[in-house]
């Protein structure tokens, strides 16, 4: 998006064989295996590890956190207060922002929300918003809404991929070649989403506009309704949101010491096949702000 120069970004991961690492390197991002180095050379810290690893990471980098740092956590279900609590043993007023984004940030059509912590200033939030707005939609919310956002737009792309796969199947069934079916299905959803975002009208009205009396579309919609299409989607968002809360609840009950987590999860992380998402593959990946220190 051109918001940051690549050389102002530092990322770290213990495992340098991950495909995401080479990807980042190719973009010109500074890479290190030391989380501490990353913290030292950054002003804005994105914590992009899996949620169970967050406490362990915070223990590790806590001593190096300075008042200037803005710690941004993208970890699902990890509360601001849990992060602040962990960091407060090292730094009296840690600036924490919690955010929830989604995978289409990769194509700069992400959906991001953030909630600011106790000691984060308005400008800190605005800085994050500026960064994330360069890769899609970004807005501030109350922290208690973040689980719902996870259910809707966090998981949302998965619902869309599932829908697109099925739509393509429908196209193939009716005679279209697969590639064309996928392309057309995706474009249809993209176009519809764009229409909705650019329109003042209610989606119900936009739907009506497509349904000529007795025509093909209304026949198809009847099938969707019969299958409880709407309720399935409501169920999905609800399930994802509830699960997020469950996970958060489990995390809050951390009874295991960080050292024990470290060993177990380190092994687990190595065993897991790396995904292509930056957020889950690296241990800690950090982006600096415009004022880089070097």
């Amino acid at each position: 998006a051109g918001v940051l120069a690549a050389h102002k970004i530092t990322a770290s991961s213990p495992d340098t064989d991950l495909p995401t690492v080479s990807g980042l390197r190719k973009m010109g991002v500074n890479f290190t295996v030391s989380n501490k180095d990353t913290v030292k050379s950054s002003d804005v810290l994105f914590l992009a590890v899996k949620p169970p690893i967050i406490p362990f990471i915070l223990e590790e980098v806590g001593p190096d956190i300075e008042p200037r740092h803005i710690v941004v956590s993208c970890a699902a279900g990890v509360t601001i207060s849990s992060i602040e609590k962990k960091l407060s043993t090292f730094c009296p007023t840690p600036k924490v922002i919690r955010c929830m984004t989604n995978t289409p940030v990769i194509v700069r059509e992400g959906a991001t929300v953030y909630a600011t912590g106790t000691h984060a200033d308005v400008e800190d939030g605005k800085l994050l918003e500026q960064l994330m707005a360069s890769v899609g939609f970004c807005t501030e919310v109350e922290e208690d809404l973040i689980d719902a956002v996870t259910g809707l737009s966090g998981s949302g792309p998965a619902y869309a991929f599932t829908a697109l796969d099925a739509l393509a199947d429908g196209g193939v069934k009716m005679g279209l070649p697969r590639r064309l079916a996928v392309r057309l299905g995706a474009q249809a959803l993209l176009g519809a989403a764009k229409m909705l975002l650019e329109s003042e009208q209610h989606p119900g009205q936009l739907k009506d506009n497509v349904c000529s009396p007795g025509g093909a579309t209304i026949h198809a919609l009847h099938f969707l309704e019969s299958g409880g299409f709407r309720s399935l989607l409501i169920n999905a968002v609800e399930a994802s949101c509830i699960r997020t809360r469950e996970l958060q609840h489990l995390a809050d009950q951390e009874k295991i010491s960080p050292a024990a987590i470290k060993k177990t999860l380190l092994d687990k992380v190595k065993l897991e096949s790396p995904s292509l998402s930056v957020a889950s593959a690296s241990k800690v990946s950090l982006f600096t702000s415009k004022t880089k220190k070097n």
């Binding site: 119900g204 309704e225 299958g227 409880g228």
Partner: protein
Amino acid sequence: GVALGAWPRVTMEASELWVGFVGAGRMAGGLVRGLLQAGKVPASNVLASAPSDKNLDAWRVLGCRTTHCNLEVVYRSTLVFLATKPHILPGVLEEIRPAVGSQHIVVSLVAGVTIQTLQRLLPPGTKVLRIMPNLPCVVQAGAMVFSRGSNAGDEEAALLKSLLSSCGLCEEVPESYIDIHTGLSGSGVAYVYLFAEALAEGAVKMGMPGALASRIAAQTLLGAAKMLLETGEHPAKLRGDVCTPGGTTIYALHQLEKGALRATIMDAVEAATNRACDMAKD
């Protein structure tokens, strides 16, 4: 015999209109009440016929004239409403046919009888219109659609619309919409009654007395419908306006969606429409 005295002159002035009803059942009664209440036609200008006095008593109470002779209705009226049961109509048409002339406007309320059939059974050139009302016409909150036959023109359509708007919504449509109107609104009224009953039962389950629940259910439907009609907003938008985040309404709506209520309603409208089509073919 029928007294063939001075017949009323042909006129399009509603107040001078002589209106006749062949058949005096509930639907006809609803229409005439609307006409009278709106002052469109004086009761003394209305003549209704029926085989027995059972239905006619109510008409007399309104101030209308009554008879047991269908022919008399036709002779003494310019605007003739046909409101018999479907299986009786062909016989009635045969009976009145000799008396039907170019001054008449014949409006059929009879379910399932097409304009083509009506025109076939009436003298060529007769001005025929077909109307499908619904039950709430009796309280002047009806929904009616009508279509014109080959010889009915703009004047007749305008007259009918102007008269019947006193009973509710009245729109001209292509004849093919009439069966759909049956599925949507003719039968549709029954769907609403079912919904109201179920709403009330839900409330009773939760501890409210039945009579109160029923009245509130009815008022809820009335109020919602009124808002729809008066704001002109899309129902989806109005629905969204009621749904506060995480509130009671969205929880309830989720239950409705789980039950595929929308599809079921679409199925109902489709079934009634198809049935209307099938019956018309008989």
